[in-house]
Subunit: 498 residues, 2 copies
Amino acid sequence: MNAYESLQQRSREIALYNSAASALTWDLEIYMPPKAGPYRAEQLSQLAGLAHRLGTASEVGGWIKQCEDKLPACADEEETALRAANVREWRRDYDRATKLPQRLVEDLAKTTSLAREAWVQARRESNFAAFAPWLEKILSLVREQAQSWGYADCAYDALLEGYEPGVRVADLVPVFADLQKQLSPLLPQLEKITAAVDSALIEGDYPVAGQQALNRRVAEAMGFDFGAGRIDTTVHPFCTELGPHDCRLTTRYNERDFTGSLFGIMHEAGHGLYSQGLLPEHYGTPMGTYLSLGIHESQSRLWENQVGRSRTFWAHWYPVACEQFPGLAALPLDEFWLAVNRVKPSHIRVEADEATYNLHIILRFEIEQRLVSGALAVADLPAAWNARFEEIFQIPVPDDARGCLQDTHWAMGAIGYFPTYTLGTLNAAQLFSAALRQVPGLDADLQKAEYKRLLAWLQEKIHRPARRYSPAELMTLATGEPTRATYFMDYLKSKYGL
Amino acid sequence: MNAYESLQQRSREIALYNSAASALTWDLEIYMPPKAGPYRAEQLSQLAGLAHRLGTASEVGGWIKQCEDKLPACADEEETALRAANVREWRRDYDRATKLPQRLVEDLAKTTSLAREAWVQARRESNFAAFAPWLEKILSLVREQAQSWGYADCAYDALLEGYEPGVRVADLVPVFADLQKQLSPLLPQLEKITAAVDSALIEGDYPVAGQQALNRRVAEAMGFDFGAGRIDTTVHPFCTELGPHDCRLTTRYNERDFTGSLFGIMHEAGHGLYSQGLLPEHYGTPMGTYLSLGIHESQSRLWENQVGRSRTFWAHWYPVACEQFPGLAALPLDEFWLAVNRVKPSHIRVEADEATYNLHIILRFEIEQRLVSGALAVADLPAAWNARFEEIFQIPVPDDARGCLQDTHWAMGAIGYFPTYTLGTLNAAQLFSAALRQVPGLDADLQKAEYKRLLAWLQEKIHRPARRYSPAELMTLATGEPTRATYFMDYLKSKYGL
């Protein structure tokens, strides 16, 4: 076995243990009986430790070096390029994993596990003081992480790199500024247009079985392969990959409003189509792995928003939904469509509409940078959050539970994660716009609820390349330029006829 | 870490990988999408390989030897005895695992995997000739297994040892002969008594939700802890342990007859109570592991048959079932009870009643011994099976699918497994009889559907000892003598008033 083959084998071996851990996590979230928790945690930690040891072993560094010095010969040019990309990504993963001292890894794991519990309680009681020492400690640990990884401009860059390879604060700042500049003045208009309909009119009687049938029909129409995936019920919906032909979506049901579950399934199935679009023969190696969170999120948002919240989508699917839920027919399609596209400033990010959502991210991006650099002290966080929130949204923050304590990310040590949500939003609009330009007749397809060619375009441009290019390169190859705010703004304006 | 602690740690590490594999297998049987099969097989094989390597590593042999030479000191006498028992069992497992040449292990894994597919098809087409070469090959491999393990009297003993430690053909032959001698003449009477009621009268309308509610109530009454377990739906019901507080039962539902699922759940919950009764602090070591198949099966059968098929049980539960299924009340309790206790010779083992079931086992036990010794050639198996079946059951075998091709065990290389089913039946009757003698007022408890003290007795006598004693020792400690046929025969006679 040459060095490349050794890396390939090791990479697949690690993926196998990680995928077993994904299966255990899926079960934990959905079916596991409560008393099984502590042992499940042991299983996950032992599997993670095994995968980590296998990935950071010194022989791995040796194989990578050998491949960098001389990539084993291969007649096929395309195959050679793929191998070179695999080696580049193995190097990246290896360096990021081995640069962290073992003590720091353990300290982070332990701290975030305890911090999560503290955060749950602090949020319940809206008691920032109880969480503050944990955030302090987490910030000091992630700063140490950033130091270990190294960076040119600012520590935040090193964190961001973990979620969005190659993207830097200096890249995001102008894009986000442009977005905010265009979006803020538009919001009062969007709010006014969509306030024309009382969105409570959607409320009715939607039995779970009917929702499940509709969700499945829509996911199937999108192209989600139920021979290689399934949908289960959970409290916090997610999508997870248990293997090369095994993608699990989850959702929750509200029997008074079916739209939450349906848009949720379109979102998760968007993630799932990305997973199902990766080439199974590369499973377990970088060329069979998703690229970044901002790209993953672009797939979920494109299906949920550009497709699912469009007037075109509902022209086809509203009659189907009315067949499933006869009471719905009392609400005219146009009013229904406005109601599911309601724009309104609100306090909670995860409940925000697709337009105001991005301002929640911009707020967090600003604050995270200042927390990491030390420009903002943890003790001053609530005041800073509340002031800036009111400036942006024009509504006051009632308490920290609905303010700076609302998200779980910081308690998990996931700092630098938030911007990828808005990157996903912008990428989604940009990709959808490119697909409409590049795929002749796609518009007509969408009117017929025919999504095969849209999916094929996404598979070719986004899914199959996997980690071959950086996110900026991939966006450029697919759309002609890196991520910009324009396409999202155009999408919003055209959607609401502005 | 001393040698004992090293063994303990290694044993728990192996158990953790095995329990992860159990979770993957549970998912495979219940929820996994079809295309995920090949990768799941890879995951299971890699985890099994890892567990095998960790268990057969040379340092393990060294640690066992060190403990055998001098068990690390321990002040507590009970703890010392437990440690000695662990070391004895580690030695047993290590020797059985290391005595097999790697080539034989791989050959068996590959052969049985292919043989299973061949068997499925051969049974479907009732084509013994298509399965014969596989059985030939499997017999030659299990003979080689037996040679590697070693034996005193006959090769079959070495196979039996894998399912029922310490039990030999010479122990079983007289017990099974006694059983057959007493059972055969009784059968015509049992058939006549139970034929008084047409068992088709049970057929009615039993919605799945109602069956689930009843199953759960009964399992809860038995003492099954749903905080540490659950019930799912599957085609082939089973019970599996995913960790120290994680026991999963499965069942299937027939909306025309609720009794199959209910007795199935009582059976699986019987297994599950054994699993939940093992001491969690010993999880992953022999002192936290089930003893043998004959003991495991005694727990499932005791709850299904001695408890569940008794007149006393239904005196309490029939009104509950009638509340759940109002149509059922048209059938008087006595007739219902006779109908669920119908005795009648039939061709298929897994559909047999609790009395004739044992004759199916006796037939297989005889034939397996002759196949392994070579006294019976594979080519002559159908004729030998059919002749002996008709002798025992007084009905002819219509085809091999309902004859020697009906069971999956041989295709899996599980030869020597069948006798443990009847050992379980006999142990169940013997244990139940001992419990009634030893627990004052247990009879009254059972009439009130109060099972706490029965369960406590089983926990003390059977569950908590785990692998501390051999099956024969355990039965003797619990009931005063090793497994005998008498208690089961007494149980049958008293049940049917003979």
